[in-house]
């Protein structure tokens, strides 16, 4: 059986005012990137608490990205 290539699932917490806007801009600019991220919009990266990051890892995230 051919080994399946590992595809990580990454939870991305993106600040509405900068990183989320940047991710939108990537779209407007048609920059291509792998579809492994699942975006969660926050109103500030400061609102991303340690509990939320731990929750993501607990539930099986391979990576957490906080953009702000």
């Amino acid at each position: 059986m051919a080994e399946e290539q590992f595809e990580p699932t990454i939870i991305g917490f993106l600040c509405n005012w900068c990183a989320y806007a940047g991710a939108d801009l990537a779209g407007v600019s048609r920059l291509q990137y792998p579809p492994n991220m699942r975006t969660i919009r926050t109103l500030c990266s400061a609102t991303v608490g340690p509990h939320q990051i731990l929750k993501a890892f607990q539930k099986g995230a391979d990576g957490v990205f906080v953009g702000g």
Binding site: P35, T42, L43, T47, V48, K55
Partner: protein, 558 residues
């Protein structure tokens, strides 16, 4: 985790094709079918353009028809379209905060254009996450605030006066507060102003006369704003004059503090007699032609150095202006300008620079590592082109010193909770998008308080700040966002952790009850308190832990 999504939650999902922007790259049928399988979803509709009038009407019709109490739109970005869909919900009688968006265009179809299958998987996950969050949304309320339609302007220089005149003419009551005994600021000390090359009196007298005769403008001389309280629409500013205090209500505050000229003590032998600043030269020129035949001007004195890294922007044009004026009065005068780089932007200044060279003003570059040395009767400088030290005889040395921030800028910054940079100049909300606003609502800035500017720029900024301010003052009422923090008084232990992180000073501690409480008018909904609170008592409505956990779980369930 306890699942608090109630069984009576009825979610409608609208999946947008955005023409071919989404439908061209993702499997729409699959998204629609997947949406139908999600918990609490009772209605799914695909639209060619959900944001079109037809799409909006479909949302408005579906809400009563299918008894929807939550709406999810999977389309572009909430940064542009959330307000539109929220108002559609509101018009259909649904609380607008029971709406959620899934971004499947800007952050999906447009960035995964060659990955139809995996891109569709991501879109499904984003829709699933939005639905999971929607099920846990609560009704939120915007708070309606009355507001004062008056303005307070701190600083009666040319930018503050221009702002006052504009607002006064629009019919708003203005309190213009000037710390000196007369209006005009730096304009009072100048000789000729650019680009019209006329004495400043005409502009100054015109502005002062128009302000003094405007019944809407109250001028407070020898006064400062010593205290401000409140928030956008409802500020109370305390104007102090000789120990007497006057409290005025105002909706907005404009910071027009201006700047002052650096006195170059200890630089290039400055003595205020034969080594002077350009401002001092201008006051000499006001009295009549100057006697000196040989004049050396040195640029960037006390600026673009380790202590003050910035360029003051207006000194080059001032030096060229004064050189030309001296040359016009006495064509035999020998003027040398020692410079590092010339800042002569725009058509008029370029032309002026060319003219100065034509009439024989000499421009010599110097290296700051080998700075000019002022001696008795001459200035010696290492001439970069000639590769040797030259000595220029002169009777007068004029130093171009930068505009520096006002001494009271840090106090005003603390008082209004608005930022200043390392040089004491005020920092606008965004260099391009909000150049005359602060991040704090209802506080604006203009003129030299922001950065050294020409008179024309100061007037432009003053009018601009007035127009931004009128955007608030012209409203009948203000509404806060419903997305604000809340602190559970039952579980709050009063540790003050949230008070320390809140950038808006929106949290108060009540010692008698031992709890912290959010002022929902001041809160901007950043959620810093919620992330900090050790007992999870602070919660950001609309972005609560429960809602975000639901998104995380859904994202990782598939």
């Amino acid at each position: 985790m306890k699942d608090t999504a109630k069984s009576d939650v009825r979610i409608g999902v609208f999946v947008c094709d955005c023409g071919s922007n989404i439908a061209g790259y993702l499997e729409m049928k699959e998204l629609v079918e997947y949406s139908k399988t999600l918990p609490n979803v009772v209605f799914v509709q695909e639209n060619l353009y959900t944001c079109s009038e037809g799409g909006i009407n479909e949302i408005k019709q579906a809400i009563p028809k299918h008894n929807l109490n939550r709406v999810v739109v999977a389309s572009c970005t909430p940064r542009t379209h959330e307000p539109l869909f929220m108002s559609a919900c509101e018009e259909a009688g649904l609380n607008p905060y029971l709406f959620e968006m899934a971004n499947i265009r800007d952050q999906c179809s447009w960035v995964h254009m060659r990955e139809r299958e995996t891109g569709t998987e991501r879109a499904k996950a984003q829709i699933g996450m939005a639905v999971a969050k929607a099920a846990r949304l609560r009704e939120l309320k915007r708070i309606q605030l009355n507001l004062s339609h008056n303005a307070v302007i701190i600083g009666g220089g040319v930018s503050g006066m221009s702002a006052a005149m504009a607002l006064g003419n629009m019919g708003y009551e203005v309190d213009l507060v000037e710390k000196e005994g007369k209006l005009g600021g730096l304009l009072n000390d100048l000789n000729m102003i650019l680009p019209s090359n006329e004495p400043p009196e005409r502009l100054l007298n015109d502005l002062v006369a128009r302000l003094e005769t405007n019944p809407k403008v109250n001028i407070h001389l020898n006064s400062i704003v010593s205290k401000t309280e409140g928030y956008v629409g409802n500020y109370v500013a305390t104007i102090s004059k000789n120990g007497e205090e006057l409290k005025v209500k105002c909706g907005i505050i404009i910071v027009a503090l201006g700047a002052r000229v650096l006195t170059p003590e200890g630089l290039y032998g400055y003595n205020g007699k034969d080594v002077i600043t350009h401002l001092e030269l201008e006051s000499l020129l006001r009295k009549g032609p100057i006697q000196s035949k040989n004049i050396v001007m040195i640029q960037c004195v006390g600026s673009r150095c380790a202590e003050r890294a910035y360029c003051s922007r207006i000194c080059c044009m001032t030096a060229v202006k004064n050189a030309l004026l001296i040359k016009e009065a006495d064509p035999t005068a020998r003027i040398t300008v020692l410079y590092r780089d010339m800042q002569m932007y725009g058509v008029e200044l370029e032309e002026m620079f060319r003219k100065a060279k034509q009439v024989g003003v000499r421009f010599v570059t110097f290296d700051p590592e080998k700075a000019p040395v002022v001696k008795d009767g001459s200035v010696s400088v290492y001439h970069l082109r000639m590769g040797k030290e030259v000595s220029i005889p002169c009777e007068l040395v004029v130093l171009s010193t930068p505009l520096i921030a006002q001494e009271d800028a840090p106090e005003v910054s603390t008082m209004l909770k608005v930022p200043i940079n390392e040089n004491g100049f005020f920092l606008e909300g965004h260099v391009k998008l909000k150049p005359l606003d602060f991040a704090t609502d209802g506080v604006y800035l203009c003129g030299n308080a922001r950065y050294p500017s020409t008179i024309r720029e100061a007037i432009g900024q003053g009018l601009g700040a007035a127009s931004r301010a009128a955007g608030v003052l012209s409203k009948d009422a203000l509404f806060t966002s419903g997305i604000v923090a809340d602190i559970n008084a039952q579980t709050c232990c009063g540790c003050l952790g949230c008070v320390a992180v809140c950038p808006y000073g929106a949290i108060n501690f009540f010692p008698e009850r031992g709890v912290c409480q959010v002022n929902k008018v001041l809160c901007k909904g950043c959620g810093g308190c919620a992330a900090t609170c050790p007992s999870s008592s602070a919660r950001l409505d609309g972005f609560s832990n429960e809602q975000i956990y639901a998104q995380i779980e859904k994202a990782l369930a598939g």
